[in-house]
Symmetry: C2
Subunit: 334 residues, 2 copies
């Protein structure tokens, strides 16, 4: 059993400074004091997001700890991507049933490999005994006028999605025995999507000044897009056949495909809106970030004072569809 | 059962803006987007600290939720106080076994009453199901050169303590049946110290430019002071009879007093060092902050290259004492 301080030192503090970005403020103070000290880049603001991951709810007890370290940071960096922010730093607080050295070593490997790729420095933390629970707070830098906010969608905007949706939920279904993958390689692809999502940082940065509203898809398209609509006071029309999906997902039954892409969650792709006049600029930004993007619908104005923000689902032929979908809600069984 | 979004809205989001400080940056973006946006005051840096509180370890399952809301924020604000930082904002992530409205209402009352007193705005959060676990990350603003760092103690400095030490640990001992309070009112005083500690924000601000090093006492004087010594590469001599204690604590057996004051933890008082020439300035700062302070020892240089940072305990007559003490270590039973 390790003491708290030797744990922090062995697995976290020594690697924390390695991820320090070259643009870090020279006065930055990291692990070891009462507080860390951090400043955004000159003229920018700090974008801040916090996420808690609980065993049995966000991951299984037997999860590969290296994959867990990767994913715990990804879900937070994904929020920075959705804001168009450049990662700077993060804090990590966690409770652990016991101080298992092999587990901590693998977990910290997964965490720092991703942190170092994004120049994101661990600046503080807290460790304690208890049921396995991780809480990461992440800090990025963004010019306030360039931030990709949820309340910025405008009538006439296109709705775009990065990457493909649904593979993570398909992987969860395979793990749970809800369905089987059609081909042997498909199960591995689904599992990879579930365990190793990549935060779309480069795309978020490339969309500054081009996209209007953006968010990351963590709870499913149907529920998450509604957050943009509600905060922007607009409606959406979405072509369900246009929603991008992988070849592996297209080998599952159509009803499963629809459930996974529209209400699946855990995708960590960006959903964003941009004016129709900016289509070429969006494509160029996606190319720069090396991430495919797909147009799936349009934003329209509320038609009357009593009109409510909502998604009108249609198929490729334009025919309206009635779907019963629900985003992932953490206080309900899915 | 409430959904995640209605929970956040009912108990947290609506009150979050009430604590917004008058000096808040007008571009501040709070709850409801992928990230919050925050900037330190002009020319200052953000001081950042995170703490996780776990049921059964940091509080009992039957704790008064209003007191828990107060204490969960106190332990974080106390880190800002120890840095000399002005509170600005905080994020709250928590997992709960069930969405109990009465519990959440009382918890948020305790949390926001303290937040509003310190102009500290809730800017983001995360809620999920799971064993009760709270994670708060707090943000303050401080000029980097005025920050009260742990590595700034210098030979010749006095060592000071705010308030009194040991009452919280005495209260825990009463709850656990380790000992009894000597008088009926003493148990209530101990319990108050355990459940309702006050962060020494005003004192931390008043000590800017006066104190050298500072930290807050969360794990016990013996362990915490050692952090200053190690980071500053100095030694300390401490008069155990000078360590301030309440009248209630002084009615317990001397061995219990010593254990509670030196290795108790959960005090959230400040321990700081300042040059002997600044004694009048320290007293004036304490008076301004309306918090008593007591001088308990001195800092000295390491005497040889092989000398290690350590505390030399002595009594009021100057005689050396050999004490076996251990700070609270979260991976050991205390």
């Amino acid at each position: 059993m390790l003491s708290e301080f030797s744990l922090i030192d062995r697995f976290f503090a020594r690697r924390a400074a390695l991820a320090r970005p070259p643009h870090a403020h020279r006065d930055t103070l990291g692990i070891g004091d009462d507080c860390a000290l951090l400043a955004p880049r000159s003229g920018e603001m700090l974008a801040i997001s916090t996420d808690m991951l609980v065993e049995g709810r966000h991951f299984f007890a037997d999860v590969d700890p290296e994959a867990l370290g990767h994913k715990a940071l990804t879900v937070n960096l994904s929020d920075l991507a959705a804001m168009g922010a450049q990662p700077q730093a993060f804090t990590l607080a966690f409770s652990l049933p016991k101080a298992d050295e092999a587990w901590l070593s693998a977990f910290s490997d997964g965490l720092f490999a991703l942190a170092e790729r994004h120049g994101c420095e661990l600046i503080g933390g807290d460790t304690t005994g208890g049921p396995l629970n991780l809480c990461i707070t992440v800090f990025g830098s963004v010019p306030p006028q360039a931030a990709l906010r949820r309340d910025a969608a405008r009538p006439g905007d296109d709705i775009w999605i990065s990457g493909t949706l649904g593979d993570a939920r398909a992987g969860l279904g395979v793990q749970r025995g809800e369905w089987n993958a059609a081909e042997p390689g498909d199960a591995a692809a689904f599992r990879h999507a579930l365990e190793r999502p990549e935060p779309r940082i480069a795309l978020g940065l490339a969309l500054r000044g081009i996209a209007h509203a953006a968010l990351d898809l963590s709870d499913g398209l149907a529920g998450d897009l509604l957050h943009i609509l509600e905060r922007s006071a607009v409606r959406a029309s979405v072509d369900v056949d246009a929603v991008p999906r992988s070849a592996a997902l297209r080998r599952l039954a159509p009803a499963i495909q629809q459930r996974c892409t529209l209400a699946g969650g855990d995708d960590y792709e960006l959903c964003f809106t941009a004016p129709a006049a900016a289509r070429a600029a969006v494509e160029a930004a996606a190319q720069k970030a090396a991430v495919p993007v797909t147009r799936i619908g349009t934003i329209s104005a509320l038609e009357a004072a009593t009109d409510r923000p909502a998604i009108a689902w249609r198929n490729a032929a334009g025919a309206p569809l009635t779907l019963t979908l629900q985003g992932f809600d953490h206080f309900h069984a899915e």
